[in-house]
């Protein structure tokens, strides 16, 4: 805070002469008073829970003897035990692995489709653009739990209209909820819900490009496809990077879709994704302490991934703007 205050103080020295009294109050206290609601909300609902989680992650329950009756159960300092447990837990490693595979399937497909739709909508020859835009965006407005329930019905051969048709055609289509297909089944739900949002981000960014650039390209004889690939895509690269970052974070945190599908199939475990593992430990196994440690590890890994990704792509994506 002192770093930001310093320039404020030096800059305020000139106006002090002009405006007279009350400057300290108006220049220093008033901005903080205005920031206060934000700071208080941030501390109460973001910082405090994080600190509390950190605090929990260094504790554990200690039971003595049979553990029955009062005083048999106490909370003790655990040191880094919970972190050691998390990092050596093969279930945790496996869940991270599954989520990475899921991300490799989902993110390129989702962003590719979003970019394709955004470019198509932006192209001059598209008709019914407003309707198409709404239709593609609409699934994003459906909560993940609802969409997972809907898709769950469509995946179950006995109640799915798709499988009814396959059956009539005499095709033997394996269930997407089998162990080989379940990752695709979940990725498909996320794809259905996510394409629209990413498309809107890219499309909005395309709309802010001045149209004289396209006209210049047209005059130079560029085709629509050339304009799209050589001009539009490079210009909206920052938006693509941003959507990729959001998608990566969302991928690491996938929870609602597999949790909703789990009761329908044998191929999803209660620790399929890292967050499902956290949920199970905290609320099914009643071990909030190791769940807290796992949460911290997931948060750190997510931060690390995000920074690494930005560092790698930032130069290429944002370099031209400088």
């Amino acid at each position: 805070m002192t770093v930001t205050e310093a320039p404020v103080a030096t800059r305020s020295s000139t106006p002090t002469v002009r405006r007279g009294r009350g400057t300290f109050r108006s220049r220093v206290l008033v901005p903080y008073a205005m920031l206060a609601p934000g700071i208080i909300l941030f501390v109460a609902f973001m910082a405090a829970p994080i600190v509390y989680t950190l605090f929990l992650s260094f504790q554990k329950t200690k039971v003595s003897g049979l553990g029955l009756g009062s005083g048999a159960r106490s909370t003790v300092f655990a040191g880094i035990d919970n972190y050691v447990t998390t990092l050596t837990n093969t279930e945790f490693g496996a869940s991270v692995g599954r989520v990475l595979v899921y991300g490799f399937i989902l993110i390129p497909l989702m962003l590719g489709l979003a970019l394709l739709f955004a470019l198509l909508l932006d192209s001059r020859r598209t008709r019914a653009a407003g309707f198409s835009r709404t239709a593609i965006f609409l699934p994003y407005a459906v909560p993940a739990v609802i969409s997972s329930l809907l898709w769950g019905f469509l995946y179950l051969p006995a109640v799915s209209p798709f499988y009814f048709v396959f059956d009539k055609l005499g095709w033997d289509v394996p269930s997407l909820l089998s162990s080989g297909g379940v990752t695709f089944a979940i990725a498909n739900i996320a794809l259905w819900g996510g394409v629209g949002f990413n498309m809107i981000v890219m499309y909005t960014s395309l709309k802010s490009v001045p149209s004289d650039i396209y006209e210049a390209a047209k005059l130079d004889g560029a085709s629509e496809i050339q304009i799209a690939l050589r001009i539009k895509v490079p210009i909206i690269a920052p938006a693509i990077v941003m959507t990729a970052l959001f998608s990566m974070v969302a991928t690491l945190q996938v929870f609602a879709e597999p949790t909703t599908l789990r009761p329908l199939t044998n191929s999803l475990s209660t620790s399929w994704s890292p967050l499902m593992l956290v949920y199970r430990d905290a609320f099914t196994r009643d071990d909030i302490y190791s769940a807290a440690a796992t949460s911290i590890v997931i948060a750190l890994v997510t931060f690390a991934f995000s920074f690494l990704f930005l560092r790698v792509v930032q130069k290429r994506a944002f370099g031209q703007e400088d």
Binding site: V63, L66, R73, P157, A158, A282, S295
Partner: protein, 433 residues
């Protein structure tokens, strides 16, 4: 990260509840006003039964606070116990949750309030699960779920098959049903329903936990459970029993269209069948479970709950009085049966209250006579302090096994359950043999 926020939110909600309950306890529990008791429960229409008590007992007024179900209510209670405040006076607790609650010091001992007087009303197996085999009484049994075999009488008759009375016969009938129509199964092995599998292991003589002096024993990977797992693994490997979970839209459709010809379930099954397979009313019949040993008929429990008083209650004596009335008084039990639709644990009162069969089974006038006979044969079973861990291990390990469809995978799942459950207890510091 979301979870950490949730944890914080729970802590704050608890703190808020703490402040509020602190206030209300002072105003409500004075000498001149009536005693006010809060009751967390999820049985349907329970508040109508409580209204009868409130009308008769102006000095002790009970308020039902509706809960989402067994698991969330217990999670909330454990949070309130940890926070030191915010718990209700009474809670509806499933039998398998009692050791966990006792181990967290959440339940008051009711033996000093005369709860022992009603012991004779309940079967020994049921009473054991509220005392944990000790002198303390941690809850009053409310309902029980003795397991029975439900089958489509019309389909078995059409195929000329007799109702199986032993597990060998069950396997033969399963083979015959599936051979007659490959879409049809006599049942499914569900990796989602740990309570269902526990009930079947219980029937075979398993008791997954035990107290031996000052140490717990974990006996999952023993002959009874291995026999049950091997039996189902064999049928699933053979392909004559389905391997898909219960309670899915697909399973519901199967019950309704006759692809699921039978269901190993509990006495509360008519309610589920009526909701999920309405088209088949009058076609089902109930029979005792197939047996391992016909000379010693046995069954397990799937479901069932009790009424417990928490350690945070300021009026445990009044709460114990209400809990006893709710589950043993003739008028209360009758109301539980008719408005809440439960199968009472109090055997005598159950007989008096359950005179006509459930509507869905109107074709079987002796439904509750069969049920009462079966309820008498429930094998003893001891639950341990980490049933939640064993159950979640069941979900994961048996899901893998059901997916693999081999008998050896089913047996491996039992071994894995034993290891996960034991490791968890040791990690927490329990003395385990």
């Amino acid at each position: 990260m979301r979870t950490s926020i949730r944890v914080g939110a729970v802590a704050m909600a608890t703190a808020a509840a703490l402040l509020m309950s602190g206030c209300s306890a002072n105003t409500g529990g004075g000498d001149d006003g009536p005693v006010e008791l809060n009751y967390w429960a999820w049985a349907p229409n329970l508040e109508e039964v409580v209204d009868i008590w409130n009308a008769e007992n102006p000095d002790i007024q009970v308020t039902v606070q509706k809960q989402d179900g067994g698991d969330p209510a217990i999670t909330k209670l454990l949070t309130a116990i940890k926070a030191g405040s915010g718990a209700p006076d009474l809670i509806q607790a499933e039998y398998q949750k009692i050791p966990t609650l006792v181990s967290s010091d959440a339940l008051a001992d009711l033996s000093e309030y005369g709860a022992g007087d009603v012991q004779d009303a309940f079967a020994d197996g049921v009473w054991d699960s509220v005392t944990l085999g000790s002198d303390a009484i941690y809850a009053i049994p409310q309902d029980s779920g003795p397991m029975m075999f439900f089958y489509r009488a019309d389909i078995l008759e059409q195929l000329g098959l007799a109702v199986p009375t032993t597990w060998d016969e069950y396997a033969d009938v399963a083979r015959a049903v599936h051979a007659a129509d490959p879409a049809k199964y006599l049942g499914t092995f569900s990796s989602n329903d740990a309570g269902w599998f526990t009930g079947m292991a219980q029937q075979a003589g398993a008791s997954w936990w035990g107290i031996d002096g000052e140490a717990w024993s974990v006996d999952i990977a023993e002959t009874p459970t291995e026999t049950v797992a091997g039996y189902w693994g064999g049928l699933v490997e053979e392909g004559v029993i389905d391997n898909k979970p219960m309670y899915t839209p697909e399973w519901n459709a199967g019950l309704n269209n006759g692809e699921q010809v039978g269901w190993l379930s509990a006495v509360w099954a008519p309610g589920v069948l009526g909701g999920n397979a309405a088209d088949t009313a009058g076609l089902w019949k109930a029979a005792p479970m197939p047996q391992w040993d016909v000379d010693a008929p046995a069954t397990g429990n799937w479901g069932g709950s009790s009424t417990a008083v928490t350690t945070q209650s300021d009026h445990p004596e009044e709460a114990a009085k209400f809990a006893t009335w709710l589950n043993t008084d003739a008028e209360a039990v009758q109301a539980l049966v008719t408005t809440a639709g439960i199968y009472p644990a109090d055997a005598e009162q159950a007989k008096a209250a359950l005179t006509s069969p459930p509507e869905f089974f109107s074709n079987q006038p002796d439904f509750y006579e069969v049920a009462a006979e079966v309820a008498d044969t429930v094998s003893p079973f001891t639950y341990g302090p980490n049933v939640n861990v064993a159950y979640s291990a069941y979900n994961d390990e048996f899901a893998k096994a059901a997916d693999a469809k081999t008998q050896s995978a089913f047996l491996d799942a039992v071994t894995a359950m034993q290891k996960i459950t034991t490791d968890d207890m040791k990690k927490s510091g329990f003395t385990v043999e």
